[in-house]
Amino acid sequence: MDVPSKSNKAWQDIVTGKKTFQLKFLAAKILLGRLTRTVKEDPSPNTISNSVDQIYALFSSNVNMPSVQEDMKTIFG
């Protein structure tokens, strides 16, 4: 499975905490622990966009990991 583009709404839903998922990829969990807090404190479009950039880059760079593949199914179906 390829990583859906940054414009996919699910990325925004994750960093804003609108939707939460039980993920497997350790780096994503640690990063999201920080990003969701940052966005909660400052929900400006710029902060949301920066956060989406970071989580998207993390998934894109590790797309071959089994945990990332599992998480993408969990998030995007």
């Binding site: 350790l26 780096a27 969990k29 640690i30 590790n62 071959n64 990991m65 089994p66």
Partner: protein, 333 residues
Amino acid sequence: MRQTISSVSDVKTMIEAGRKLLLAGEEDVLHQLPKGDWIAGTIPYFISKDHGGMVSRDLLCATDITDLVTSIEIVAYDQNSLARVYTEGPKHGFSFIVIPAMSKTHLSFALNAPNYKDFGIRPLIGWIAGVHLSDLGKKTPKVINGITGDVLEEGALVLQAQLPEGKVAEIGIVNLFEQGAGDVLTFTTDDFSATDVMVNGEKRNFAAYIIKNKLDTKLPLVADYYGALVNISFQDVDEVEGLVKFYAPVFSGIRYKHAKPVVDYVKEFNDRLCKECSIESARVAFSCNCILNYLYSELEGKKTDPFTGPITFGEIAYQLLNQTLVYLEIMDV
């Protein structure tokens, strides 16, 4: 798992045969080794396959990654350049880091790694080098680059390993501690120590709070990072100064809770592995566990199969962790 507890002579033989090794042991023992494809940190505590938890000033813990990787390079960083550790990681592989405990680089990494550029973009695993507990204050932890022979007590060494096609590296943790049912604790600054704590939003002196509530400081603070439980271990509670020190920094805005007790580490460890049922020993390339788990859970002579390896002054799985087992799996894709 390719981790063994070996004599100096056996490790010399492996190095001379061109094996690529991640080593742990006493400084005097490591100095006896010839140059070669190895990286090391000082520590005399290990979990071995045969004897479980053990301490040895003569033996070395050797993790042989020769057959897993296509090439390695060892890079030295200082507290500033380490900010590039994720960006410079191998595109198809993993980075293995060792940092001397209490060095400026250790403290800087602990505080700043979550905000380094490209955090997590490449797998980063490793540990904090230490000393025998009876040598605290007498000897300093060190890391050694086997290729150059350089010995550092300030800085970090990173072994960048390339993997063959069809293999990927995954990093996992086993943390037996969970958040208890007590107060929500937050802090206003990122620091290795705290005078004040916000208890359910109310400012209190943290040392006084710990004493009044009789918190067992062998149990860490636990934060929930989107489902990943991250510990902060207590180092010292100074009632007179009103200061609490930690082995890793607390971060502002993160909601911590004091951990539930772990009554029998080995039993709960085995229960956890059975429950998760996803760790195949053949895939585990490296693991290490925390000196505090070794001490508080009395792991000497006890096994934590399938995990062996060094017992460390801090564990690194992307960022610094406490009282946590970290492991590296090499998987087929």
